[in-house]
């Protein structure tokens, strides 16, 4: 078990070296939320706490889901996968390593909106809750990214398209641009289905001290999403890995 964790860490290190230190990935991770943010926030009279919380939630979401979907198809294409499959590691270990890299990346990039917020005078009322939320959300979204890549394809473009088609709509139903409490009841129901809603809510709690859901509900929901995504990802990848060879 400890051995497998160490080996997952080795995979994470490899992922960071190969996939994360590339310019486009980092830029895409920062720019997508920044553009969405600017497009929807400019000219609206909203509180800076509210804005930064939304930006932070979106940033974790986009960065954590940016690379996990492409690792498996890329390694299918570059023919590295059979070696991993022959190594003394389980599929869970491989996926956990991929997630770990993605989580570290998500956490590192999330410092950008936090520092930006602090520069704009936002105070962090609940730093521990914020840290916990960021870590949980980063794991949760990384696992979600793994689900996108579980079709046994070597085409990164297919996977990217699929993930974009799901990611962008999620942003709009997650109470980022409009507070959940101001949504109509169908909007609130929809928002409750998105993990992004809960991390954004947690961020608002951390900055403003107020939120729509109770804090424990936010944390619990993120945990449940994480476990569900992880289990689905493992099951799907266990099935698809042999088909990629």
């Amino acid at each position: 078990m400890i051995d497998q964790m160490r080996r997952a860490y080795a995979i994470a290190k490899k992922d960071v070296r190969i996939y994360y230190l590339k310019g486009p990935v980092i830029i895409f991770g920062i720019l997508s939320p920044a553009f969405l943010f600017l497009a929807f926030m400019i000219g609206r009279d909203l509180h800076v706490d509210f804005l930064i919380a939304g930006l932070l939630g979106m940033t974790i979401f986009f960065t954590s889901t940016s690379v996990t979907p492409v690792i498996a198809p890329t390694e299918t294409q570059t023919r590295n996968l059979e070696r991993l499959a022959a190594a003394p590691i389980s599929v869970t270990t491989i996926l956990f390593g991929d997630m770990l890299a993605s989580v570290l990346f998500g956490i590192a990039i999330s410092l950008v909106p936090i520092l930006l917020g602090m520069a704009l005078g936002v105070t962090i009322v609940h730093p521990f809750i914020l840290a916990l939320g960021i870590v949980l959300a980063a794991f949760c979204f990384s696992a979600m990214g793994l689900i996108f890549s579980s079709t046994p394809t070597s085409m990164t473009s297919t996977v990217m398209m699929l993930s974009t088609m799901i990611k962008f709509p999620l942003v709009f139903i997650s109470g980022i641009f409009i507070p959940v409490q101001e949504l109509p009841s169908w909007g609130r129901a929809l928002a409750s289905l998105s993990p992004l809603t809960y991390i954004t809510d947690l961020c608002r709690y951390s900055f403003q001290g107020a939120c729509h859901y109770p804090v424990m509900v936010d944390i619990g929901a993120l945990l449940v999403f994480l476990i569900v995504f992880m289990v689905i990802a493992i099951k799907l990848h266990e099935r698809s890995l042999p088909k990629r060879l």
Partner: protein, 307 residues
């Protein structure tokens, strides 16, 4: 001698196609075991099942006493694997590729450093250790991949067509390495479609075709089985009664393919003379006449017919 690999009734189906069909064999400690067969015979499928990369449809494999179905991690820790079509991480340096392998197999850091230095020197890659693998030639890549498979100092090394498509020098280096490893007592499982390679390197060879093992034996013994198998191929201007040809002295078998007749013989020279006499006395003209040594395919035909 103890068996390090035991394979029982191993089978793999791919949607209706039986790639590997109830094969059984054992590999003993310290031997170089060759798996010889044409493309599509099921070699890679077998190696993938032996290395735990894919699950068999039925049957069992044990490696170093570990059942691969029940203890895949323990079994895999004893192996080194060079898959047929594989690659190092081209964006990483040779050094980082080797260290990554060591970490995956749980090799302690200090051992990994000295082993990587040793392997890089041996494979003549030490100068390039910090260069990204994408700058390497095909031969250098294959050497690195082989070195990667040795980072955990495996008891058993699986090589799937390790010299296929390589230049002569790299191929020779890999063959030398196989001999060296054999001399240090390692067990090697090697697949190839080159007869020569198998006979140069292997203590025993299994011949596989259409997912079945046609014969398992030492290469020299297999060669003896097929040694007498030469044939003369002839065609005439007019149809002939093949039973006349079959009756000729020294003929051990006969096949027709199109308008050509293939006569298996132990004495090609005598067969040719008889054919010439036959055509003269029957007032026929010979269109083609060739003597042929058996191809690998002929060996299979012979061996499968024998069963």
């Amino acid at each position: 001698m103890k068996n390090v690999i035991e394979v029982k009734e191993l089978t793999k189906h791919y949607n209706g196609l039986t790639a590997v069909d109830h094969i059984n064999f054992e590999v003993e400690e310290g031997e170089v075991f060759g798996f010889l067969g044409p493309n599509g015979a099921g070699k890679t499928t077998t190696v993938r099942m032996l290395t735990g990369v894919i699950k068999p449809s039925s049957g069992s494999v044990s490696v170093m006493g570990f059942d691969l179905g029940r203890h895949p991690i323990r079994a895999k820790e004893t192996m080194g694997v060079v898959p047929e079509l594989s690659n190092a991480y081209t964006e990483l340096s040779a050094w980082n590729n080797l260290q990554f392998m060591a970490e995956l197999y749980g090799v302690p850091k200090r051992v990994a450093v000295s082993r990587a230095e040793e392997l890089l020197t041996k494979f003549d890659l030490y100068d390039r250790k910090d260069h990204a693998v994408k700058t390497f030639s095909k031969g250098m890549k294959q050497k690195l991949i082989t070195a990667m498979s040795l980072m955990n100092d495996p008891e058993i090394l699986f090589l799937d067509e390790p010299t296929s498509g390589l230049d002569v020098r790299s191929a020779r280096l890999i063959k030398e390495m196989v001999r060296e490893l054999r001399d240090t007592g390692k067990t090697i499982f090697l697949t190839t479609h080159y007869m020569d390679e198998a006979s140069q390197l292997c203590n025993r060879v299994a011949i596989i075709n259409h997912g079945r093992i046609a014969a398992i034996d030492a290469p020299e013994k297999l060669k003896m089985r097929i040694g007498g198998l030469q044939y003369v191929e002839v065609s005439f201007t007019a149809p002939v009664d093949v039973s006349d040809l079959r009756a000729m002295a020294g003929i051990i078998g006969l096949r027709t393919s199109g308008d050509k007749i293939q006569l298996y013989t132990e004495e090609p020279d005598r067969t040719i003379r008889s054919l010439v006499d036959y055509s003269r006395s029957n007032d026929l003209e010979i269109v083609t006449l060739n003597t042929l040594t058996p191809t690998l395919e002929d060996v299979f035909v012979k061996l499968t017919e024998e069963e």
